[in-house]
Amino acid sequence: MKALTFKRGIHPPHGKHYTENKPIEVLMPKGDLIYPMAQHIGAPCEPLVKKGDRVLLGQKIGEAKGFVSAPIHSTVSGTVKNVTPMLHPNGTKVMSVIVENDGLYEEDPSINQSKDYKKMSREEIINKIREAGVVGMGGAGFPTFIKLSPPIIENIDTILINGAECEPYLTSDYRVMVEESGKVAEGLRIILHLFPKAKGYIAIEDNKPEAIAKMREATKNDKNIQILVLKTKYPQGSEKQLIYACTKREVPSGKLPADVGCIVQNIDTVVAIHRAIVRGRPLMRRIVTVSGGAIKEPKNFKVRIGTTYRELVEAAGGFIEKPAKIISGGPMMGIALFSLDVPIIKTSSAILCLTEKEAVLPPEKACIRCGKCVDICPMNLLPLSLNVHALHHEWDDFEKEHGMDCMECGSCSYICPAKRHLLQSIRRGKKTILANKRK
């Protein structure tokens, strides 16, 4: 069968050779753990503990505020050292709970309670996922229970598990599919239990044959689960592009996947759902790829949320070369950090330490109108034109040309031979327009 794909897109060097064959290593935290109260899209949590309190592993320390929010749990037992604003991986300061680990890992009595999901009602399952603080772990961090509660359940006919992992360097989802295929399959079965009318699909890029084989094996007796093979192309794993590739449905601008009958979940999120329901564990750990040319021994870690980036880099042998850039997430959409003293949060998929050579930022030149950015934009926008409008503050034209539909994949900046910072200006344009609207 021909590999499925979306239209346009780019083929950046994938850089996955560093870590794709490195089995997941469990990393226990050494120092203090930091829990920012904002680890998801939506309202930040309210701290439930204060300085000096003793907390247990799995204890809720941040209460969800508002509907779009997700609680936060301690991932160790120990003492609250402080509750204060700390540097967040997104570069801002965010109210955080700092816990000194006592090394006992004494568990909170509220966790480990589970029963057979087949005997649970929809409300029970959704509530459990909500209380476990599960959010989309692919980057955005949208609370999972909301995604699993579309207005009309019967309209959902497709559950897509996103195993594309199209960002260069990232191998965490790949390792999970290879090593924990059973959990991924079971997690998907739980979701399908919530949507009796839907079929489940696990979509994987064709450069990951081992993951495809392992997932096929794990789901071979499931009549309503199918493995889909995708073409290796960026951004194949972007939600709307993935839906198009697998179902040929276009999510209308401003609408959600559920509007075309689809729900998309990330691989690690599915495992988190599995742990929440089958084992009664809140979301406390995630898989993180530590990679890049500046890292001595690039690896995939299973790490407790709250562990600092610095500890992970040290566990990967530290630097062999002074890194020019530290990135939280993938090289296409990740955020550049100015410090390693930030914690792993629910959405931290990778720490990349790129060398000078990998992270070249060439000087910007004048646009030569080569049209390459137009040819590759997955949203079919005209990045060169949006760039001009944003630089000239022509906001009406920017909106008329659908600038707000840009999904910030970065493909245009990547491909531009004049090295124009296209996405940077478009992103600024979008922010300005949103800010103007709020006024």
């Binding site: 990135i327 109108r369 005209l382 659908h402 539909d405 531009c416």
Partner: protein
């Protein structure tokens, strides 16, 4: 580990390898087979025309940027490409002040005055050629081959269409000669094979997209096949597409980034428009060849094409207004 601050910048954090100068270098590489063929066919004359044309383009770019106190950008090789393309559009026998004037005109008047690379609205080499042709027509149409005055294949075909003119009533060269290039014509338009090798390289390296060349050549092919010189369905359309500057124009000039549309639909229209105008001029116009005028005319339409051919945005809902 010491406490260091790292570079912080907006994503994406990796960029493709290609740059403006790597692309320009690839265009030069793609032109090399045709350079070699023109040296083989026209010998020293061709070499001097190319050298003077390139020197004039690069020199006037540097001089202009120095005088206007702008950063000097001759290291992006774009002036070299313009120089080479201009030379390709000149007969080998031109006096050497022609490429010098042409190069300066192309760079200063057509390119730099409008803001430099990426800003000009006409193809510099073609605009220069048009001016040279209008100002010094005799120099610009003096075709020689091995020192003997000759006519271009299209000239012969054209002459054959109208009243018989004694001087040019030779038979047009054989098809095989067109491929190799042993015919009268400008430096770069004689050898079809050399141009096709270069074109294949550009397509393979994805420097150009096939939309414009395919629609340009395809349109000329179909139209001359249908409305041939000697009546409907009488012409050999293969002969027509391998003669004159069509291959050079379609692959190397109409695809010029700055002066062609950036949208896919715009590129189709550009190619079809070029093909249409070329055929009209070749069959009915006053000149034997129409490639360069067709491209220049379509160049003028590019801003409009870009404006009215925006692609449908992914997920765009049809509005009911």
């Amino acid at each position: 580990m010491e406490q260091t601050m790292y570079t912080v910048s907006s994503s994406p954090h990796i960029r493709a390898d290609h740059t403006i100068d790597s692309i320009m270098k690839d265009v030069i590489i793609a032109l090399l087979p045709a350079v070699i063929m023109s040296l083989y066919i026209f010998k020293w004359e061709a070499l001097w025309v190319m050298i003077f044309s390139i020197l004039s383009c690069v020199g006037s770019e540097a001089l202009w940027q120095k005088l206007t106190k702008n950063p000097i950008t001759i290291d992006d090789y774009s002036a070299v490409v313009t120089g080479l393309l201009l030379a390709f559009n000149l007969p080998a026998s031109v006096p050497l002040w022609i490429p010098i004037i042409g190069g300066a005109f192309a760079i200063v008047i057509v390119k730099q005055i409008f803001g430099g690379l990426g800003q000009n609205f006409m193809n510099p080499a073609l605009a220069a050629r048009a001016i040279l042709l209008a100002s010094w027509p005799s120099h610009m149409t003096n075709w020689t081959l091995d020192g003997v005055t000759t006519a271009t294949p299209l000239g012969i075909l054209k002459a054959g269409m109208g009243e018989v003119s004694a001087a040019t009533l030779a038979a047009p060269p054989a098809f095989s000669q067109l491929l190799i290039g042993n015919i009268g014509g400008c430096l770069g338009e004689t050898s079809a094979i050399a141009l096709l090798i270069g074109a294949a390289y550009l397509l393979y390296k994805r420097i150009i997209h096939w939309r414009i060349p395919a629609s340009f050549i395809g349109t000329v092919f179909i139209l001359t096949w249908i409305f041939g010189r000697n009546g409907m369905f009488q012409a050999n359309p293969f002969y027509e597409i391998f003669t004159g500057g069509l291959l050079l124009g379609a692959f190397f000039m109409a695809t010029d980034y700055t002066t062609s549309p950036v949208t896919p639909l715009g590129q189709w229209i550009m190619g079809i428009g070029c093909g249409l105008i070329t055929t009209l001029i070749r069959l009915f116009g006053g000149y034997p060849e129409g490639v360069s005028y067709s491209i220049l005319l379509m160049n003028l339409a590019v801003p409009l094409l870009d404006r009215y051919t925006h692609p449908k945005v992914f997920g765009e809902v049809k509005s009911n207004e």
